[in-house]
């Protein structure tokens, strides 16, 4: 069986056994998903490249101790959250030289820089953090309610409640913003 056909868990098992090509397959399989998450979570989506690289560098170390208590993507999602929070904290403390003079720390300031990513991000960024997380995992990444709950570290009932509130608010935001999707 070639690596591309193997399940996420099997790939991680092979990587833990010492296969370097298994790690390459993990990167190939998850890099888009991690990159998208970084684009939405980061204040500056231009740092999404660096954040994604950092996530996989940590994965190269951390997945060797993976216990398979959750799906590998859940582990990657949580790592992406940590890394993006670190990047955002650094941005708050360190002034950016290439930043426009009139820019603020508002997550919406890069609206004109990217097309699709920025439009999506603009709508999602209006949600409270927990609701945004539910939308990303349950709706955009299409995780199961159980996996979403595990990734967020909460109960499944909380996920359902947050999802209900998030979709209601998101619908209103889409209509009021007049953005053509």
């Amino acid at each position: 069986m070639i690596l591309a056909e193997k399940s996420d868990v099997e790939l991680v098992r092979e990587f833990k056994a010492g296969s370097a090509s298994a790690f390459d397959a993990i990167v190939g399989r998850f890099q888009d998903r991690v990159y998208r998450l970084a684009c939405v979570w980061l204040y500056d989506p231009q740092n999404a490249d660096d954040a994604t690289q950092e996530v996989f560098l940590r994965a190269h170390k951390g997945l060797r101790r993976f216990q398979f208590r959750a799906a590998p993507f859940t582990w990657l999602y949580r790592t992406t959250r940590y890394v993006c929070n670190e990047f955002n904290r650094r941005r708050k403390t360190e002034p950016m030289d290439d930043e426009p003079a009139d820019s603020s720390n508002n997550p919406d300031r890069h609206v004109t820089e990217h097309d699709t990513a920025t439009r999506v991000r603009k709508l999602v960024a209006g949600l409270p953090e927990r609701q945004r997380e539910v939308v990303l995992l349950r709706i955009f990444e299409e995780l199961s309610v159980a996996d979403t709950a595990r990734a967020m570290g909460c109960r499944e009932g909380t996920v359902k409640a947050l999802l209900h509130k998030a979709t209601k608010r998101l619908r209103i935001d889409i209509e009021s913003s007049g953005l053509t999707l």
């Binding site: 990167v27 699709t116 998101l170």
Partner: protein, 136 residues
């Protein structure tokens, strides 16, 4: 799920990582997997110490040769030591000295028995004669 949200989901999933990112990650992972050389600077003082310990005995071995060049000590004890260290000279014994043939000294001439020894009175007489000559 409403149509708007479904459209939003499709747009989100259209976002792709740049093509070079996977290559960059592989290169970075390979770089970090290499053994670290950060302990090398810490090893430098140890290397210097080992070198010093190795060279030090060689330096102390050369030191006696330098002492010959150094000025001689002036204390009595050291002078005594030097006298004992002085190489022995071949001094001839008295017996060997006797056997050396030395040319004989010339003989003392014997005094003539007929010739009267010059006495004090003779000298006086001569002086007396000179006096006489002076008055004459």
């Amino acid at each position: 799920m409403s149509e708007d949200i479904d459209k939003l989901r499709q747009d989100y999933r259209r976002i792709r990582a740049p093509g070079h990112l996977a290559t960059r990650i592989r290169a970075e992972v390979a770089d970090r997997s290499l053994p670290r050389r950060s302990w090398l600077p810490a090893l430098a003082p140890i290397a210097v110490a080992v070198a010093a310990v190795t060279v030090a005995p060689l330096l102390t071995q050369q030191q006696p040769a330098d002492e010959t060049v150094a000025p001689k000590p002036t204390s009595m004890s050291s002078l005594t030591r030097l006298s004992t260290l002085k190489p022995e000279m071949s001094t001839p014994s008295l017996s060997t000295m006797k056997s050396v043939s030395v040319p004989a000294l010339p003989r003392k001439p014997k005094p003539d028995s007929k010739q009267t020894p010059q006495t004090y009175f003779d000298i006086e007489d001569e002086n007396f004669e000179e006096k006489d000559n002076a008055y004459s």
